[in-house]
């Protein structure tokens, strides 16, 4: 069934987009990530203009994280104070990200930067996750690493400490503010929620209690992706509400099934699978940069 997308200005197979949203939703429900890192590249491979793909994927992330936030809120797995600080940072980040987006678009290097950041971020995180998963699954033996200090020295040296009771932390709000800022920039620029960066950073850099990490990151992703949608709607005018709705219909349903599936599978196996998927996306993006592209010429409307 073909449907015309009013902003992307082309018709797409609606069923295919819903299935795509569903698959990404399934993964996001299983792994607790927004899934933007899959939606955006897949939409671009399908032929949606990159700007529209990024902006519309951002909208989908908001919807996909709602049920997660709801579940974690009920369990008390959210540090609202920490989340609030990160959201403020994220709002500033998306503002700066929107400026960067315009700048890069004008210089013609937006596709390169998106591709390059995807390769670096996904490649790095994917490799780390793969190593962790392999060790946890006992498929690879490594010597037990030295116990890492719970508090990062750099973070501890920042001035002005606040108490975050739910996270069990006494630290400067500058660190989570900066983390939120990075997530905000990434959301606008790449159309990813940034969960796969934020969650490890919250654990390893901030040293937050594991109980509240996922819930807090989801609250932040929800708010920051909503702000980024607004930012795109007002600056690039590239949010395609029809595309986003199609993705959401598949995505929110897929997320529910994913959450059920996640409880029935071995968590280390899940992490291994996610690492492989992330590395495959990174590899595809790398090939896109290094291979001779299908189109040497591209057109920009003035």
């Amino acid at each position: 069934m073909d449907i015309y997308l009013p902003i992307a200005g082309q018709s797409v197979n609606a069923l295919l987009i819903v299935i795509l949203g569903g698959l990404v939703g399934l993964l996001s429900g299983m792994f607790g990530v927004g899934g933007g890192f899959l939606t955006t590249p897949l939409l671009i491979f399908y032929g949606i203009p990159p700007t529209v793909a990024v902006a519309s994927a951002t909208t989908q992330i908001t919807g996909a994280s709602v049920s997660g936030v709801y579940a974690h809120m009920r369990r008390g797995g959210v540090d609202l104070k920490m989340g609030g600080v990160m959201i403020v940072g994220g709002a500033f980040g998306s503002l700066v990200g929107a400026g960067l987006f315009k700048l890069l678009q004008a210089s013609g290097q937006i596709d390169l930067v998106i591709g390059f950041l995807y390769v670096v971020l996904l490649g790095g995180i994917g490799a780390l996750m793969l190593k962790d998963a392999l060790v946890a699954l006992d498929w690879v033996k490594v010597e037990a690493p030295a116990e890492r200090p719970r508090h990062n020295r750099w973070v501890a040296s920042l001035p002005g400490r606040w108490r975050f009771y739910a996270s069990g932390l006494y630290l400067s709000p500058i660190a989570p503010l900066a983390l939120g800022f990075v997530a905000g920039v990434m959301t606008v620029l790449l159309g990813v929620g940034g969960g796969f960066i934020i969650v490890p950073a919250m654990i390893y850099i901030l040293g937050m209690a594991a109980r509240v990490v996922v819930g807090t990151s989801l609250v932040m992703i929800l708010a920051v992706s909503a702000v980024s949608t607004m930012m795109h709607a007002m600056t690039t005018h590239a949010v395609d509400i029809v595309l986003a709705a199609l993705l959401l219909v598949g995505g929110v349903i897929g997320a529910q099934y994913g959450a059920v599936l996640a409880t029935r599978l071995k968590p280390d196996l899940l992490r291994f699978a996610l690492a492989v998927i992330i590395l495959l996306v990174a590899l595809r993006m790398l090939l896109g940069l290094a291979w001779r592209p299908d189109e040497i010429f591209s057109i920009e409307y003035l």
Binding site: D2, Y4, P6, S67, M231, L248, V252, V260, L289
Partner: protein
């Protein structure tokens, strides 16, 4: 003497009367883009009226051109730099038609000479793209070829050298297909009657291609009311997310 001058003055009028006339029409005056729009087909047809109703032994040929609104564009070229393909060079074209299709009853080059083709823009090679700003002719040609090739493969530029059918020497018709990603705007359909290498008659019709109904509403809202549009998108995604969570909470 005066009489001779008078007769001379009559000559163009007399020959003009001997020229055939064109009566063109199009299958649709406007095309509406709706949710199920996957492209459209336009039929450009009409009649050639020869003086006295007699078809000459060497009947005239017909060229039809469908042209979309002209827009300024920037064409970028990727080059491999340090092992990575990136946009390296660019060239500006001030007046590239967003859509261009030409159909003729015989290859255009066989019908008219280069000058005539350039005047009436009767072919992709003869488009007046107005490249901007002091680039070397070599580079200009490269970008022009790149632009034409890209848009040809997107279905936005097309040449149909045998696309016009003329039946009984008087009725002509040409079918031109429009892909789903055409830009909106006012399109012009030009019909040229060609005989002996000269354009002897021409007629122009306009076609309006626009989004309608919901699609038009969405496109306008996105462009004019960014804040409200964004808010709607956020509320929609929150609502759908919440609805799915609520629906599934009961089931599991």
């Amino acid at each position: 003497m005066r009489r001779a001058l008078f007769l001379l003055g009559l000559v163009p009028l007399l020959t003009a009367q001997a020229e055939p006339k064109l009566v063109p029409d199009i299958s649709a005056r406007s095309i509406e883009i709706r949710y199920s729009f996957t492209g459209a087909q336009l039929l450009l047809f009409g009649a050639i009226l020869y003086p006295g109703g007699r078809v000459p032994r060497d009947p005239a040929d017909v060229i039809v051109v469908l042209k979309g609104p002209v827009e300024p564009i920037l064409v970028r070229e990727k080059q491999k730099i340090a092992g990575i393909w990136m946009n390296a060079d660019s060239n500006r074209f001030r007046s590239a038609p967003s859509f261009y299709a030409v159909a003729s009853s015989a290859p255009v080059r066989d019908l008219v000479d280069e000058r005539t083709a350039a005047i009436y823009e009767l072919g992709l090679q003869d488009l007046q793209l107005s490249p901007g700003g002091g680039a070397l002719p070599d580079k200009e040609r490269r970008f022009e070829a790149g632009l034409l090739d890209l848009r040809k493969r997107q279905g936005l530029y097309a040449e149909h050298p045998q696309g016009v059918e003329i039946s009984e020497g008087v009725l002509y018709r040409a079918r031109i297909s429009i892909p789903s990603q055409v830009p909106v705007g006012t399109y012009t359909a030009e019909t040229f009657l060609v005989s002996n290498g000269k354009v002897t008659a021409a007629a122009t019709r306009e076609i309006e291609i626009g989004k309608s109904g919901f699609e038009r509403f969405v496109a306008l809202a996105a462009a004019r009311h960014g804040f409200l549009y964004g808010l709607t998108a956020v509320i929609l995604s929150l609502g759908l997310g919440w609805a799915a969570a609520a629906a599934f909470r009961r089931r599991f």
